[in-house]
Symmetry: C2
């Protein structure tokens, strides 16, 4: 008798609120603007299969702003810089659909408001992540700083008098632990520390559930784009708990040898992984 | 040969900035208002000997606001409530000298400003301490709360949406550890957490130095009023490190038996303990 593989899919696997919204906006665009050329500025989300699927219905990716002169442009879920957004808004023959995640938009507004109010703004996140590139552009360059660890906090912050004012916020996908660590290390500053918890719990909820699965399954599959930071992080975390954890983009990446002697397979997927990619993996597993 | 006692006095023992300022203001008052009756509203600081010394030069303590109709009133270093301050200011024949510690005044202003701006104000401190009684009076009663431990934070704070806004400040003599603990437990709230570190480092500096002394001395003397919260806390902390720690108000409280077999005596004193009381203890010790 051949024992059947038990498969468990995380409830939090796949599209988060912001990605779902961005893809909906993109899918509706051809009906709303049937005569116009529609483009996304950069990849709309970090998933090559979704980007390809949109290209197949005519919504192609453009990386150079000079190519965006007329038609419709969709701004990606991670957001873009203030300067680029202003430039696009000023083009008379271009319609802009802003698919920036509302949580990212809120963080951009906090940077702008705090910087205008004279605060030293600290953005906790990855310097090169597109969301952070967008966030930092909303602050005065002289008083907006990206940090990723307590050591990045300038020493002078701790010697300033009562009048010092610091505003702290985070990349929406940051871990709560790192956020807590940074806040703790800022608590001895005199003056004011204004903390905006801009972390979206979708990421931490997805991570917690995947870790629980990784604990009780023989093997973990993490589905998502190789260029997706949150998918990579999900895979990394699961590997620590369950060495038999594999990062795949599609069902084609599956290898039969992974499942030899395994009984339970856990599945999770990044915030930019569509349901149809998860379903494709499930179908392939059933045929194994 | 009789071995002499080694005595070490903490550099941070005695008057803090705010107390020194309050006593200076009181001592100058008779010269400034030679013809007027001068009173303090409540004890000007928490030290009975200083209160008695001021009484001996005619500056007596009054506890009932109805007795303050004319002359000069000195507001104590811990501050009073907004309502009492307004009432005193409105009395036509009364001159008010505000000896509220500037650090406490700053904390009062933060409560008022944050409450006016619609924040939920959290004051971390002892509910019955006169400083806290003053602080809380500057906020709207519906949205100003005194807490002393993480469990005091209302559960609803953690379920409120992004729009929730909390401002946190502390009694100026609070420990940095407790402040950190409370901030940490508030970090998962969505929305905004505005932290004002209103802790005066004089208290923690005095505590750290006294603990160092308690570690290397055979016996510790803590000089200060029995009604002084910071002196009591100093004694408590030293006792944990050095069981032979004694809280005294004046040299008269010294007992010869405490020093039998001891070689090194450490001395510290609360923020409201004058130099002349410390000197009196030193003189008595030299005569032992």
């Amino acid at each position: 008798m051949v024992k059947k593989l038990q498969i468990e899919i995380a409830a939090t696997a796949g599209f988060c609120f912001g990605v779902k919204r961005a893809i909906n906006l993109a899918n509706k665009a051809p009906d709303k603007y049937p005569t116009l050329q529609i483009r996304t500025f950069g990849p709309i989300i970090h998933n090559p299969q979704v980007v390809n699927q949109l290209a197949s219905i005519g919504i192609k990716q453009v990386d150079n702003i000079n190519e965006l002169v007329q038609g419709v442009v969709i701004i990606r879920s991670h957001g873009i810089t203030k300067q680029l957004a202003q430039e696009l808004a000023q083009r008379p023959n271009l319609t802009v659909i802003d698919a920036t995640c509302p949580y990212v938009r809120r963080a951009q507004e906090i940077v702008a408001k705090m910087s205008d109010a004279g605060y030293q703004v600290l953005i906790l996140g990855e310097l090169d992540h597109p969301e952070v590139t967008g966030l930092i552009s909303y602050g005065e360059p002289q008083r907006t700083l990206v940090i990723s660890k307590p050591d990045d906090i300038p020493a002078e912050f701790f010697t300033k008098p009562n009048s010092s004012r610091i505003a702290l916020l985070a990349q929406t996908t940051l871990s709560q632990q790192l956020y807590n660590k940074i806040v703790l290390s800022l608590l001895t500053i005199k003056g004011e520390l204004r903390c905006f918890n801009t972390i979206c719990t979708a990421t931490s909820d997805r991570q917690s559930e995947a870790l629980e699965l990784a604990k009780r399954c023989d093997c973990m599959l993490i589905i998502g784009g190789r260029n997706s930071a949150n998918t990579n992080r999900l895979h990394e975390l699961c590997t620590e708990r369950q060495p038999a954890s594999y990062h795949i983009e599609t069902a084609e990446d599956l290898k039969a040898k992974w499942f030899i002697g395994k009984q339970t397979i856990g599945i999770s997927a990044g915030a930019s992984t569509p349901k149809w990619l998860i379903d494709g993996v499930l179908k392939s597993l059933e045929n194994l």
